[in-house]
Symmetry: C2
Subunit: 259 residues, 2 copies
């Protein structure tokens, strides 16, 4: 089977054994360009992700660094098997429950939220659809950290670089995704359904698929607010955004953490 043949297949069964002979897809996006243009994608076309594209994403993920190159990352990919369907349902229900509570608590339907064109209302529409259609995301990946000592905040240095590589490799192939924390509310049930051992800690829920519509720009705070030299708060004179950079203020109100 050729690379093109594998790429045409939406099933994990067809032709995958031949991937040992198939190189990774050729690059069409540059590295710096990809880093600057990968943004969270929450709306997907109803289109499967080919085994070849998935392989390239997971290969990139597992090239990430980890402490002492111990490689404590494992990725449970959820498509349409029985465990996958049950796990997706559990996470989808948790996501809808979380979002309904957040809308009520943080007043997404009050104030500027009543203006359909406001950023708040747009975000609410995107999130509503995301949680409502969670089970239809083409692929869900649960990156897990295999703990050999108690997890602490620095443990993430051996799993989240791999998550970022996964999202960048999706972008490289015209796919997109987003990191969420919706699994946290149903972690025990997921461990049971998916057979996770006690040492496996689910670090994220990542959904992936072909973006619907345009990506929109990546927006961040100005570089000089985020980069310091020699002392906290002291921006170096080279911390200057390149031409064309789009800005945003930082996230939602502090009272409204999203998992």
């Amino acid at each position: 089977m050729t690379a093109a043949g594998a790429s045409d297949s939406g099933s994990a069964d067809s032709g995958a054994a031949d991937l040992a002979e198939v190189p990774l897809p050729a690059d069409t996006v540059g590295l710096l360009e990809g880093l600057a243009s990968t943004r969270s994608i929450r709306r997907y076309r109803d289109e499967p992700v080919s085994p070849e594209a998935l392989r390239a994403m997971l290969f990139a993920a597992t090239r990430a660094p980890s402490g002492s190159n111990r490689q404590p990352f494992r990725f449970v990919v959820l498509q349409d098997g029985p465990g996958a369907l049950e796990a997706r349902r559990l996470i989808g229900e948790a996501a809808r429950h979380f979002w309904a509570e957040k809308v009520a608590r943080d007043g997404y339907e009050r104030g500027s939220g009543t203006d359909a064109s406001s950023p708040k209302a747009r975000m609410a529409r995107t999130m509503r659809r995301y949680v409502d259609e969670f089970e239809r995301a083409p692929v869900v990946v649960l990156p897990c950290l295999v703990r050999y000592r108690a997890a602490d905040p620095s443990s993430g240095s051996s799993i989240y670089p791999a998550c970022q590589n996964l999202l960048l490799a999706a972008r490289a192939q015209g796919y997109g995704g987003v990191i969420t924390g919706f699994h946290a509310m149903v972690a025990d049930e997921l461990a049971s359904v998916l057979g996770l051992p006690p040492e496996a800690w689910i670090a994220a829920t990542i959904t992936l698929g072909r973006p619907e519509g345009g990506h929109g720009p990546v927006r961040r705070r100005p570089l000089a607010e985020l980069v310091y030299a020699d002392h906290w708060g002291q921006a170096p004179d080279w911390a200057v955004d390149p031409p064309g950079t789009r800005h945003t203020s930082a996230g939602p109100p502090r009272s409204a953490p999203t998992p």
Copy 2:
């Protein structure tokens, strides 16, 4: 000043104000290629990193995702200012202390460690030089997480993707680096020297520079050991390494965590 002019400068002072007119460097590495070939670099040439290259690295870092796009990441860049020199000395001494203890505890000079050509002995030589010359690394970056709630293992999802972007953007420009945890032993002293506010948590110590010699291949465990579908331990048939992949077993013995 042209982009080439900025690129020729090793000082953070010269021409940096003009970077607002200078686009990011043109890509010479593809996105998938960069993801597959970025490895930890611990040996650096004695060569400064230009402000233009640093700007591109930090710009890429700050494009990373974070929970609710809250952007709680800050990067303290240590070059040759008074705070930087003192902070580098503190971390370098901690690194040398850590490594000396680890060599004794884990028997790096016993068993296969006495064979100069063994992987164990090679790793020991690299680490010895890395800690001995820590203060000479061209750039040290301390990525910090600004906490708005207590840090837990999932907090890393808002800082380590940015660290990985930083390392990938270094690779894009012919530089390299490594994530370490040596700051942890002197975190309070560093906070004092660098004026970190109480809510800033240092997530990593990243050293950066122009690699000395070749990079060597990225080695990982076979993909089928790291990627599962539908259930823990169940590799999908597409989890197959592409041709030419180099393998390694997982890290050092469990008794020997490196920070």
